[in-house]
Structures are given as structure tokens and as C-alpha cells.
């Protein structure tokens, strides 16, 4: 049995301790905003927060979440009360296919929380998520905008 806190709610799962958190969240719990892209920690589509830090859930055994706080894109913000990253994402019209964007936004949200005044170099070095549609320019602009808003 693994127990952790997911988006503010306690969850208990009867799964192998080595099952990656990604699959526990997506298919055991059924929250599918977190995406699968590579399964080897290279693309970041599966990024969630572990106690506020961005982690790649495809490469994190669910046992590592035991008694921890996990947050997924579903808890980042809502249409009524968007996270600054989400407002900036809309304003800059970032997504194309959108598939990488929940992981991208989770990485960006954790990043600006820790770096309220980032340079482009800081952004480039901190966020190594892959976007195959190539929305990188707009991601930079949106992160700068959101950082300004919270900073």
C-alpha cells in the first residue's frame, strides 16, 4: 500500500512500490492531464510537483511519494482562477498541439516560484522539457510575463 497526498486529497493505492508515479496517477487514479512522452525522464511531459519541486513522474517510483504532497496540472489553476503561468500561456498563445503543455506549465510554475526574476539563460538552463511543436519562443515570453506578475 502506498499513501500520499494528491492535489490536497489523501490517496491510497495497492500497487507495486516501483510502479512509476505517472501510471499510478493516470490510470489507477484517473487524472490524465499529466502526460506520457518517453518514459525515461527525457521529455518532461509527465512533470508534477513533489512538495513543490518539479519531478518527472515517469521516472519516480510511487514509493517515493509515500507521505508526500503531489500536485498535478489539475490543481494548478482553473478557468475562474488561473495560475499566473496559465494566464500568461493564454496571453502568449503558447500551445500548439498542447500535449507537452501540462508538463511544461508545471515545470514553469515551479521554476518561477523559485526564480521570480529570471533571465532567458536561467529559463533555458532550468527547463529541459521537449515541445515537438516548437513553442519555445512563446514559452520564454510567457514565463517572463508570469514571473513579472508574481514578482
Amino acid at each position: 500500500m502506498v499513501q500520499f497526498n494528491l492535489n490536497g486529497k489523501a490517496v491510497t493505492l495497492d500497487v507495486e512500490p516501483e510502479m512509476p508515479l505517472l501510471w499510478a496517477i493516470r490510470e489507477e487514479i484517473g487524472l490524465r492531464g499529466t502526460k506520457f512522452g518517453c518514459g525515461i525522464g527525457m521529455c518532461g511531459a509527465c512533470t508534477v510537483h513533489l512538495n513543490g519541486n518539479p519531478v518527472r513522474s515517469c521516472s519516480l517510483p510511487v514509493s517515493a511519494a509515500e507521505a508526500q504532497e503531489i500536485q498535478t496540472i489539475e490543481s494548478l489553476g482553473t478557468r475562474e482562477s488561473p495560475h499566473p503561468i496559465q494566464s500568461a500561456w493564454i496571453e502568449q498563445q503558447v500551445p500548439q498541439c498542447g500535449y507537452c503543455q501540462s508538463g511544461m506549465q508545471m515545470a514553469a510554475a515551479a521554476f518561477i516560484a523559485a526564480n521570480p526574476n529570471p533571465s532567458d539563460d536561467d529559463i533555458d538552463n532550468a527547463i529541459s522539457n521537449i515541445c515537438r511543436c516548437g513553442t519555445y519562443d512563446r514559452i520564454r515570453a510567457a514565463i517572463r510575463q508570469a514571473a513579472q506578475e508574481i514578482g
Binding site: 498563445q93 498542447g98 529541459s128 511543436c133
Partner: protein, 738 residues
């Protein structure tokens, strides 16, 4: 042909009293009756023969205008663009417009009526010319309005068809209003979804007019002139973006069907081969959660109660691959075969002037050989599908660029009637040509759907099959590897007088291969046939390889002539040509300079016309610790018309980044009949760190409307490689970082 012969009116009970406009014509393959029924009930039913109509615009009594969009979304924003076209032509208010995806309904296999439509109604578009006769079926599908790809959505569906339907609808509303007010039409004006009679101050909303309007017949009306456009040309926010930001978009991989199990596949590893034996079947069946093992066309699938358990079990399979002739295939053997073909079997596809004499008279010759490698698409969402039986129907959730063809493919694999397949085409986590249902050879791009259907047919419960990234990379339909040899003859002033190219694979349209420049004597030659590696369409298709070849080679010729490559290009172009206009614009934007800067940066340029648009790019690069780095890319685009500038710009920005992954890192090596690379560690993609800033300028012109999805790809490789050549490294084989 006039609008009225193609416009059909649908009124009354079928639509709850609304007014709907449909325009038949090329690609008008959708059974209207069927579609309406489907919309009401969610059920499908076969269409009556001959009722081939596309339904585009529906105006309801509640004042909503619904635009039925036949293209699935893969991130291009064309849904918004199409709605803009309709709202503008109709003079509707933007916020009264709704966008709905048309269901994948039938009549698609109906080649004959389609053929009739194609030959009599519309000229074959330029870009399809080259292979039109070769394969009518494919042309039909390219023209098919449910194709997402080839940059067709806005150009053909929108500009040619929806715009007319909207104009006809507006005219009917206007006439209905004139009758109601008992005034002449010329006294009325239409704006924001309201018809007004200024003299009396009376107004009627569209919704109030649909009943009367639907009693009228459609007539031929002219569409607006560009100066009358209000929404066309404005950067309205894309309707899909909030869904994508708030994780409300449901991709195929997010399918959630009660009771479903999961399948993971392990393929034979050799193109075309089957798995002959599983050497540890008992061990695999004993694993936690595993419920079955199933053979599929070229592999084995494990079914389990959780996707990770299925995937782990599939990875643990110990399989033997049946012998297959492709086993001997390697990149080296394939390249050698191409080189031999170029030497032995080249045939001229087009010729201008007299190259033989021109070469003999030339004072100087330049030669070069280029190679573009195989590439997988690597869509962010790996190939997947969810399939289940319910009663006599087979349900499929998937992301495909041609839903109708996918539905036919599933029916075929399952041995069912077309009508017994219910296909739910979801927004795609990237397409780039991977999810197109056909190829130019016998490769089957929908191979993952074949797997999913074969697995599901053996199971009593719904199956969600997801290919691992490794299987996705190794079982694609690749951009073809192409070897190309070039030769140019220069006169004593350095001007090119002869140009000869010989390239592998005759699938390319010859116009994609011809240089844009004034060169009196040219010979374009092709050699060889499709090889054993399955190949398909990869964003911008043959332009991606041939843009690289021809725009690299003209640069080499310019250097041999001792000229600034940009000025050299301009000297060989008509100054009013699209190519010259966008080149000059890009040069302005970048403050073009030729030669390495003191800080080690250099620029390179290229210009390519594809999919109806012309794009010039200038790349600024440097070497940092010996590694190539692209800092900035400037793009100038002539697409004739621009519907939504910011969405269009996004496509070009994205294409630059997509192409840059390929230029820097992209290649799929072949060894022992399969692909070596497997995941993002060895099939690398750029991230923010590699991503240049991209500036895009959109030029409008009198040229007919061009596409946006693909056009930013072709110039990038040559622009980048031409820039590195200034720094002393001429790259003739991609990628840069091997």
C-alpha cells in the same frame, strides 16, 4: 462553375428550423443525411448513394452560427481560421460563432463520384499535379476535406468552399430581411449578425431570419474583396488554447472506457518480419496483472490491467524473429544502393536548354553530393488507440489526420462493414504527417491502428494500446533517406549557365527539386525505387530534403563565384518574384551580413517555395566549444492571404524548431533491418537551450492563398548549414551533430 450548382439548402425539421448551407464539390464526400442523423443521435448510418455534400455553416434560431470543421486538430489553429473566414463573410459577430468537429462519416470509398467531381469541377492544385495520375485514390484523399495535412485546411476548405457557403447564406438572410421589411436589398446593411434598415431603424437578428431565409433558393454571389475583410487578417485568439492550458483537451491516449485493460507491443525489430517464437511465455503470463499475450502483424502484445505492467512485461519478452530478407539492410547498404542507382539508372524528369553543351562550354564547374537521413516524426503523443466491441459495432478512439480513411482501415482489418466501425477522432498530440493514412508506396502508416484492432478483437474488454516511445521511434513511416548529386557550370563572370541534379527516389514533385533561379540549361534527374524501409510523409514532405539540397548547392555555387550568396541569389531572380521579395525582406530584418563577425557569428540564407507559400530564412550561428549553436532565425513569408497572423506566425516559429531538431540531431540509422535509435536519449530533440529566437514577418500579396503548417521547415536546414559554411564547415550530410 457557379455557386448555385454546388450549394444545397437544408431546412426545416432536420435542423430544428435553422438554415444550413452546404457546398458540394471536390471532396464533397459526406452523406448529409447520415451526418445530421449522427449529430442528433451519436449513431452512424450508411448514406444514400449520391448524397455527397459537405455541410459547412448552420445558423440556428437561437442566433448561433455553427461552423462544421472537417479537420481534426493537431495544433495548427486552423479551426479558428476557418471560423474567422465564415464569420467575416457572413458579417456575423465573432462571439456568436461556434466551432464543431464534423464526424468521420462516409462515402469516402466512393472513388467514382469523387473522380467526377475532381475532373470536372476543379483544377488539380499545383502541388498535387506531380502525382495526380499516379494515384487517383491518394489525390482524392488529399482533396478530401477530412484530410488534416498538406496545409489544406484553410486554403481549400476555408478559402475555396466555406467562404462561398457563408456568402450565399448572407445573401439569403439579406433577401429574407428585405421581404420582411418590404424594402429593397440595397437599403439594407449587415453587421455583427444583424440586418439593419437605416431609414426606418428596424433591425433583425440572423436567428430571426433563418426561417424565412431557408424558404429562398441560393444564388450566385460574389465574395468580399480584401478591403472589406474585418476578421480575416486579425489575430483572434485560438479557440482551442484555453482547453489545452487547463488540461481539458482529451487526446486519444486519455481515453477512459469502463473495464478497459492495457496493451503494450514488442515488434520483431526488422521491417516486415514477424515474431516466430516467444521463449519465456510462462514467465510473462505469471507476472502481476498480465492477462494475455497476443500475436500481432509484426510483433507480440502483452495485455495487462495497468499500462506499466503491460509495458514491463512486453520489455521482458524473449522473442525470436522470423527470418526476413530485410535483415541484411543497413544504412551503409541502402546508401550504396542509392549511389549505384544514381550512377546506373538515372532518368531525366525535366530539362531546359542544352546542359551537355553548356557544361562543355562552362569555364568552371562545381559539384557536391548531399545526404538527408531517415527521420521519424516523434510526435509528442506516442501512437496509441483504444478499441472495443459493443453489440455489432467496433469502437475506436484514436488521433488520425484522415478519420474517414482510418475508419475504412479499421473496417478492413476487422473484416467489418464500414458502417460498423465507430471512430472517435481525437485532437492529436502532434501529427507532422505521421498520422496521415496513406503513403506514396506500400507502407502502412496506420500500422499502430492495425496492432490495436488485432489485439482488441481477441479480447472481451476494451483495450487501450500505447506504443512505448521506443516502439514509436522504431516503427514509423520515415522521411525517406535521399542521396543527391549536383553539378553546376559557371561562365567566366561567375554566373551559372548549367545545373544538373540527380537524386534518389522519383516520388518527389519535380518542382520541389528545380532551383528557383534563372539558369538557362537545367537537367533534373531521378533514380531508383522505394527501398525496404517504410517511408511516409514528414512535415513538408520532399521539400525538406530537396530544399536542403538545392539551397545548399546554390550557396556553394555563389561561394565558388566569389559572391555574397544572398546578392547572388537576387541576381538570378526576377526582382518582383516572391522569392526575391521575401529574401530582401529577410535581409532587412536580419541586417544581413556575409562573413564571420568578430564575435564568431555568421549568417546563412535560403528561400523555398512550398505548399503555395514562399519563405526566406536567415539563420545566425556560431560554434561554442566546438558545437553548433543557432542564435536567431528571421523568416519572411509570402502566403498571398493571411487569415490569422498570430496563428500563422506560430506555425512558422514551430516549424523552425521542428526543423532544427532534425538539422542538429535528427537521423534514424538502419542496422540489421531495423532502426537503431529508440528514445529521446539517442533520437534527440532540441529544448529551450538550443532554441533560437525566431522572428516572422508575414507579407500579403496578390498570390493565391498559401499554406502555413509546413512551409517554415524547408529553408531552415540550408540556412543553418550555409551559415556554418561561412565558419568553415560545409555540411553535406545531415545532421550536424552525428
Amino acid at each position: 462553375m457557379g455557386v448555385t450548382r454546388r450549394a444545397f439548402l437544408i431546412t426545416g425539421a432536420t435542423l430544428g428550423g435553422g438554415l444550413a448551407l452546404a457546398v458540394g464539390g471536390v471532396g464533397a464526400h459526406i452523406g448529409l443525411h447520415n451526418r445530421l442523423k449522427h449529430q442528433r443521435s451519436g449513431e452512424s448510418e450508411s448514406s444514400a448513394a449520391g448524397s455527397l455534400i459537405n455541410l459547412w455553416v448552420r445558423i440556428a434560431p437561437d442566433n448561433t452560427v455553427t461552423v462544421l470543421v472537417p479537420h481534426s486538430d493537431m495544433g495548427q489553429g486552423s479551426q479558428t481560421g476557418l471560423a474567422q473566414i465564415v464569420a467575416d463573410e457572413l458579417d456575423a459577430r465573432w462571439d456568436q460563432v461556434r466551432i464543431a468537429l464534423a464526424p468521420p462519416e462516409t462515402a469516402f470509398a466512393n472513388g467514382k463520384p469523387m473522380q467526377g467531381f475532381v475532373s470536372d469541377a476543379v483544377a488539380i492544385p499545383d502541388w498535387a499535379d506531380g502525382f495526380a495520375e499516379k494515384a487517383f485514390f491518394r489525390l482524392a484523399d488529399l482533396m478530401n476535406m477530412q484530410m488534416t495535412g498538406g496545409s489544406t485546411a484553410v486554403r481549400f476548405t476555408g478559402w475555396d468552399h466555406m467562404r462561398q457557403a457563408a456568402a450565399v447564406a448572407r445573401d439569403m438572410l439579406l433577401r429574407a430581411s428585405a421581404a420582411e421589411f418590404n424594402v429593397s436589398e440595397s437599403e439594407l446593411s449587415v453587421a455583427d449578425g444583424v440586418v439593419s434598415h437605416a431609414a426606418s431603424g428596424r433591425t433583425l437578428r440572423f436567428g430571426e431570419l433563418v426561417g424565412a431565409a431557408s424558404e429562398l433558393g441560393p444564388r450566385d454571389v460574389a465574395v468580399k474583396s480584401p478591403s472589406e475583410h474585418r476578421l480575416i487578417g486579425s489575430s483572434l485568439p485560438r479557440e482551442d488554447i484555453p482547453r489545452k492550458v487547463f488540461a481539458e483537451e482529451h487526446y486519444a491516449i486519455d481515453a477512459d472506457v469502463p473495464d478497459m485493460h492495457y496493451a503494450a507491443v514488442r515488434h520483431a525489430g526488422v521491417f516486415g518480419a514477424t515474431v516466430s517464437r516467444i521463449n519465456n511465455e510462462n514467465e510473462i503470463r505469471a507476472r502481476r496483472g498480465v492477462t494475455d499475450i497476443v500475436f500481432v502483424q509484426n510483433g507480440v502484445a502483452v495485455v495487462a490491467d495497468n499500462p506499466w505492467r503491460a509495458e514491463q512485461a512486453a520489455k521482458a519478452l524473449d522473442i525470436s524473429t522470423a527470418h526476413h530478407a530485410n535483415q541484411a539492410m543497413s544504412s551503409a547498404s541502402l546508401e550504396q544502393a542509392q549511389r549505384d542507382a544514381l550512377a546506373d539508372t538515372a532518368e531525366e524528369a525535366s530539362a531546359t536548354g542544352d546542359v551537355v553543351t553548356a557544361f562543355a562550354d562552362a569555364s568552371h564547374t562545381v559539384t557536391a553530393e548531399y545526404l538527408a537521413p531517415y527521420l521519424a516524426h516523434a510526435t509528442m503523443e506516442p501512437m496509441n488507440a483504444t478499441v472495443w466491441r459493443d453489440g455489432g459495432k467496433l469502437h475506436v478512439v484514436c488521433g488520425v489526420q484522415n478519420p474517414l480513411m482510418a475508419r475504412a482501415h479499421v473496417a478492413n482489418i476487422a473484416g467489418l462493414d464500414f458502417e460498423d466501425v465507430v471512430l472517435d477522432a481525437r485532437p492529436m498530440g502532434g501529427g507532422f504527417g505521421r498520422r496521415v493514412a496513406f503513403s506514396m508506396n506500400d507502407a502502412v502508416p496506420l500500422n499502430w491502428l492495425t496492432d490495436a484492432v488485432q489485439i482488441a478483437l481477441t479480447q472481451d474488454r476494451p483495450i487501450k494500446m500505447v506504443w512505448s516511445r521506443e516502439e514509436d521511434t522504431r516503427n514509423s513511416v520515415y522521411r525517406p533517406m535521399v542521396l543527391a548529386q549536383f553539378e553546376a557550370g559557371l561562365d567566366n563572370t561567375g554566373a551559372p549557365v548549367a545545373w544538373r541534379s540527380t537524386s534518389f527516389l522519383a516520388e518527389a514533385d519535380v518542382r520541389a527539386v528545380q532551383p528557383a533561379y534563372r539558369i538557362a540549361n537545367q537537367s533534373i534527374r531521378f533514380a531508383g525505387e522505394h527501398q525496404g524501409v517504410p517511408t511516409g510523409f514528414w512535415r513538408s514532405v520532399e521539400h525538406s530534403q530537396h530544399g536542403f539540397f538545392k539551397e545548399s548547392f546554390i550557396d556553394e555555387v555563389a561561394v565558388a563565384a566569389g559572391a555574397d550568396p544572398l546578392a547572388y541569389r537576387l541576381s538570378l531572380l526576377d526582382e518582383h518574384s516572391s522569392e526575391a521579395v521575401v529574401l530582401r525582406k529577410a535581409a532587412d530584418m536580419a541586417s544581413w551580413r556575409y562573413g564571420a563577425d568578430s564575435d564568431g557569428r555568421a549568417m546563412g540564407c535560403a528561400v523555398v517555395h512550398s505548399f503555395g507559400s514562399t519563405v526566406a530564412q536567415i539563420a545566425e550561428v556560431s560554434l561554442q566549444n566546438g558545437l553548433p549553436r543557432v542564435h536567431r532565425v528571421w523568416c519572411a513569408v509570402d502566403s498571398g492571404v493571411v487569415i490569422n497572423p498570430q496563428a500563422a506566425r506560430a506555425q512558422v516559429e514551430g516549424a523552425v524548431h521542428y526543423a532544427l531538431s532534425a538539422v542538429l540531431y535528427g537521423k534514424c540509422d538502419i542496422q540489421d533491418g531495423g532502426v537503431v535509435q529508440s528514445n529521446f536519449h539517442d533520437y534527440r530533440m532540441i529544448t529551450l537551450r538550443d532554441a533560437p529566437t525566431v522572428e516572422v514577418e508575414l507579407l500579403t500579396s496578390d498570390n493565391s492563398i498559401g499554406g502555413f503548417g509546413e512551409i517554415g521547415v524547408p529553408p531552415l536546414a540550408p540556412a543553418v548549414c550555409n551559415a556554418f559554411a561561412v565558419l568553415g564547415e560545409r555540411t553535406r550530410r545531415l545532421p550536424l551533430i552525428a
